[in-house]
Amino acid sequence: MARNLWSGIFFGLGLVAFLDEAVFHQILHWHHFYDKSTLSIGLISDGLFHAFSWFSTIGGLFLLADLRRRNELRLKGWIGAVLLGGGTFQLYDGLIQHKIMKIHQIRYVENVIIYDLIWNFIAIIMILSGLLLIIKTEKSSRGATDHAQ
């Protein structure tokens, strides 16, 4: 199960970072490449997460392929881990990177607070539903082994 969780968390984190780049930077142009108020710690954090996210998207999928090869994939738990990893990164991005490190805002409009609230609310929903799925899978797999015994 631990491998399922890591694979899902990595892929989820990478997926959210990829959607952030593709949708909010490239398609909508809401996010800016650079914001004058960025702290230098923000640049470092952004650089690290950006580099890590490519690795974790691809690496997460290879781990998934490996799980299937070993017949160890627990799809429900894996999806839960994707939501957990994605939600955690989105919350980190929304609270720490956007607000404290000021790497950029979600959109350059008045009342950006509304965008922030929706952004972080979605992140929390993702984390909670991810955790729920993981706990359910853990329980059912424990039930299955108990039953087998």
Binding site: F33, L43, A51, I58
Partner: protein, 263 residues
């Protein structure tokens, strides 16, 4: 007068192109020799070698090379070709394996002996290779070195050779194609790769905000974005190859009886 100039330019370009054409021919010659005694050399390796050498040529002569001195975006394109794309393609063409196949066995043993010595071991260590690669770039773009380089031809040539060699060592220290005596674990290489790649992205944003002196802000912004996203594109290919190698290697491991598995 004008024609004379063109002829001179043509001759000079030919002179610059000569070593690269020799490299292209030497590889083909080596492939023919290797095919006589060994398994057929894969076609894709010949292609990656050719495109790799042509990428270096594009930085040395031709239309892009002429714009590199005046246009920062062209400079960054040249940097991507010389420091990332060409090294990756040349690593993929496995030149050391080909060389070892073409020379007598005792000479080959001597070469592998040299490869096992400490200096080479250090240079192909992912941490040292990353420091050479990224450290060189930080020095170049965040100090006066960038404008000094454009005033001094020797410095210019030295830096460009360094960019290629450091890029090659870095790529070869992450993905193993040629024989690599001192191998590092996948996790170790992954961590170093992520840190190096992060520092590349941070440097790109640093250039966006603080352009090297003598570079216009608008050119610096476009050049920095090319560096950021171009670096990503090459990184994705390296990550895919790296993960694929892990995937194949871990399959072989899972065939072994459980007790022998060493994680």
């Amino acid at each position: 007068m004008h024609n004379e100039h063109i002829v001179q330019k043509f001759n000079f370009d030919l002179l610059l192109a000569a070593p690269f054409i020799l490299l292209l021919l030497a590889y083909i010659f080596a492939v023919f020799r290797s095919n006589k005694h060994y398994k057929h050399w894969p076609l894709y390796r010949i292609i990656t070698w050719k495109i790799g050498v042509i990428c270096i040529m594009a930085v040395v002569l031709g239309p892009l090379a002429e714009r590199i001195h005046t246009d920062f975006v062209a400079h960054m394109m040249g940097h991507l070709l010389l420091g990332m794309i060409a090294p990756l393609l040349i690593v993929l063409s496995a030149p050391m394996t080909l060389l070892l196949r073409c020379i007598p066995v005792n000479q080959g043993r001597q070469i592998t002996k040299i490869l096992k010595r400490l200096p080479i071991q250090l240079l192909t260590n992912p941490i040292i290779a990353s420091l050479l690669n990224m450290g060189g770039l930080w020095l170049l773009y965040s100090t006066e070195l960038f404008s000094l380089m454009h005033q001094n031809l020797v410095l210019y040539i030295f830096i460009h050779i360094h960019v290629f060699i450091a890029g090659y060592l870095f790529t070869a220290s992450i993905i193993y194609i040629d024989p690599t005596p001192h191998r590092k674990s996948y996790l170790y290489r992954a961590v170093i790769f992520i840190l190096a790649s992060a520092s590349h992205g941070i440097l790109a944003k640093h250039i966006y905000v603080h352009p090297p002196s003598s570079v216009l802000a608008s050119e610096a912004e476009n050049g920095a974005m090319l560096m950021y996203y171009g670096g990503d594109a090459v990184d994705i290919i390296i990550i895919l190859i790296f993960c694929f190698q892990w995937y194949k290697a871990s399959k072989r491991k899972s065939w072994l009886p459980k007790k022998a598995v060493n994680i």
